[in-house]
């Protein structure tokens, strides 16, 4: 039996030294980071009980009397999000197109992309805080902040979309004697328009969440209401506000998501062929990103 023992005929096992060392190194860094945090880890044990306690205070009997005001403030946040999205899209589509490889010259493209990257790296709240000091604690400032902050990511998505348009139509326009402007208007724009529209709606979805955040730092809307009632520890109202935020956000996400799918799928599909479509339309990597 041992003459044919497969164990003696085995090839050598590939070395797993490098991945193991890397894992150990990462583990050490993580443990060091955890130990260095100024947290009393005994507090961690009490967290579940506290969550249950406060959860009860918030949701056992939410304060529905303040609902009308909450809805008005929610509309304010949605308005901020909408106007911010419009401002952002109006600026980022032309700038993004200029930053696309097939449209703008290098000396325009690179600085533009740099500006996008810088705006992207600065958190929206900071942009909002700075703006608030200039133009005051109003929802309009919030809308402006959302508009400006979004240019970074939106511009990037625009030039990525334009660059991913297939060559064929542009080639045809150039062959007929068109210049860059014509190519953009007749080849790039029609191909990219559904995706750009879908991304614009997605910006609106993101903005709804961010507008609540801006409200927390003073721009108005449901975030302000939330900040106030949390400060006063009025948990029944806080619970009601949370429910409003969750329900409205999820509803707007669903509606916006449905419209986006319709846009990218196209309208002319007869009912009989719908089952032939794949269950999911292709999504660009970035569409799933939160910000």
């Amino acid at each position: 039996m041992t003459a044919n023992d497969p164990n003696t005929l085995l090839p050598r096992r590939p070395s797993r030294l490098v991945p193991t060392l890397a894992a150990v190194a990462v583990g050490i860094v993580v443990i060091a980071a955890t130990a260095g945090l100024p947290i009393d880890w005994r507090d961690l044990g009490t967290v579940p009980a506290q969550l249950v306690h406060f959860g009860g205070l918030m949701f056992e009997s939410p304060n529905w009397e303040k609902l009308p005001r909450a809805l008005t403030e929610m509309w304010r946040s949605i308005s901020m999000a909408w106007i911010g999205a419009i401002l952002c899209v109006l600026v980022s589509i032309p700038l993004g197109m200029l930053a696309a490889g097939s449209v703008g010259p290098v000396w325009v493209r690179l600085p533009l992309r740099g500006v996008f990257a810088v705006i992207r790296a600065v958190p929206e709240v900071i942009i909002a805080l700075i703006l608030l000091t200039i133009t005051g604690l109003t929802p309009f400032t919030g809308a402006l902040a959302l508009g400006i902050a979004g240019i970074g990511t939106q511009g990037k998505w625009v030039y990525e979309t334009i660059e991913s348009v297939q060559e064929g139509a542009s080639e045809a326009v150039r062959a007929a004697g068109g210049g860059t402007a014509e190519v953009t208007r007749w080849a790039l724009w029609p191909a990219a328009a559904p995706a750009l529209l879908s991304l614009a709606l997605y910006r609106f979805e993101i903005n709804i969440r961010t507008s609540a955040v801006l409200g927390l730092v003073g721009a108005g809307g449901i975030g302000s209401m939330l900040a106030n009632y949390t400060n006063y520890r009025q948990w029944d109202t806080v619970g009601m506000l949370l429910i409003v935020v969750v329900v409205v956000t999820m509803t707007m996400d669903a509606i916006s998501g449905a419209i986006r799918r319709r846009i990218t799928r196209g309208p002319g599909i007869a009912r009989t062929t719908r089952t032939a479509l794949p269950a999911r339309t292709t999504r660009s990597r970035n569409v799933d990103r939160v910000r």
């Binding site: 039996m1 044919n4 497969p6 005929l9 085995l10 090839p11 096992r13």
Partner: protein, 274 residues
């Protein structure tokens, strides 16, 4: 000792279980969307036979083979494998039964990013408690069986390779090794060579036949190519539109029989070697 002898010895050492019969009694399968895949099929396969199931796509071959290990439940009728009745089994009993039935697939169904070794160890699922798998522990028996299976199909030198780096024929061999690691009493093969080129297809069919003749394992092969069915199997079952239309010797099947099974004249595509 040359490698062929190594392989034959490994195969002999693997065969620890008795071989089982397969019986279908008036089995019908209707899918939830209304498709009738099998209609009143009855067949009796003795232990140790090597049987091919021939028919066009949509004739019910895939459904038939999957009723034997319960991957598709029979809507009516009984399926029995060896001393066990498959219909009506669920949970742990079904899994235990599946441990005795080895299966290979047209698409190989290997985990591409995983090594050949781990893929073959999948064959030990039914006999390993879950906690061992969670911690990645293997017993000496598991290891021994896996290595011997690989040796018996001649893939031992690729044991640590990622499955994605293998060719189609090599992948199917690894799949056979995976099934052999179960020490099965029945071997099922669903279109095992449909994705392979002719020389490789012959090699894999040869491997299956060797498993049958050397260890006496009952083998059931789904195949749509007439010459392979005639060359490698002794008995042939013909299915058309879910119904049994032929049950007899594979070598004696005439072209007329095949035309009856296919429901249309023979085409060049129905043969592997043109």
């Amino acid at each position: 000792m040359n490698t062929d002898q190594h392989r034959a010895e490994a195969r002999a050492q693997l065969a620890a279980s008795a071989s089982w019969s397969i019986r279908l009694d008036d089995v019908s399968v209707t899918y939830p969307n209304g498709t009738k895949a099998l209609r009143n099929v009855s067949l009796d396969i003795a232990a140790g036979e090597m049987v091919s199931v021939v028919g066009l796509s949509g004739s019910g071959k895939s459904t038939l083979i999957r009723t034997i290990n319960g991957l598709v439940p029979a809507t009516s009728g009984t399926v029995a494998v060896g001393p066990h009745t498959v219909t009506g089994l669920r949970g742990r009993q079904l899994r235990r039964l599946r441990g005795h039935v080895g299966m290979i697939f047209q698409g190989f169904n290997l985990a591409d990013r995983t090594s050949v070794y781990r893929n073959v160890l999948v064959g030990r699922f039914a006999s390993t408690p879950t906690y061992r798998n969670l911690l990645g522990l293997t017993t000496a028996t598991d290891r021994e069986l896996a290595l011997r299976s690989l040796q018996s199909v001649g893939m031992l030198d690729k044991v640590w390779t990622r499955a994605a780096q293998l060719s189609g024929g090599q992948k199917q061999r690894v799949a056979i090794a995976r099934a052999l690691t179960q020490q099965p009493s029945v071997m099922l093969a669903d279109e095992p060579v449909a994705s392979l080129d002719p020389p490789t297809a012959h090699a894999v069919m040869n491997d299956l036949r060797r498993v049958n003749t050397e260890t006496g394992l009952t083998v059931l092969v789904n195949i749509h190519l007439m010459d392979l069915a005639r060359t490698y199997t002794t008995r042939m079952i013909g299915l058309r539109d879910g119904e049994l239309v032929y049950d007899g010797s594979a070598a004696d099947a005439t072209e007329a029989d095949f035309e009856r099974i296919y429901g249309r004249p023979i085409q060049p595509d129905d043969r592997l070697d043109r």
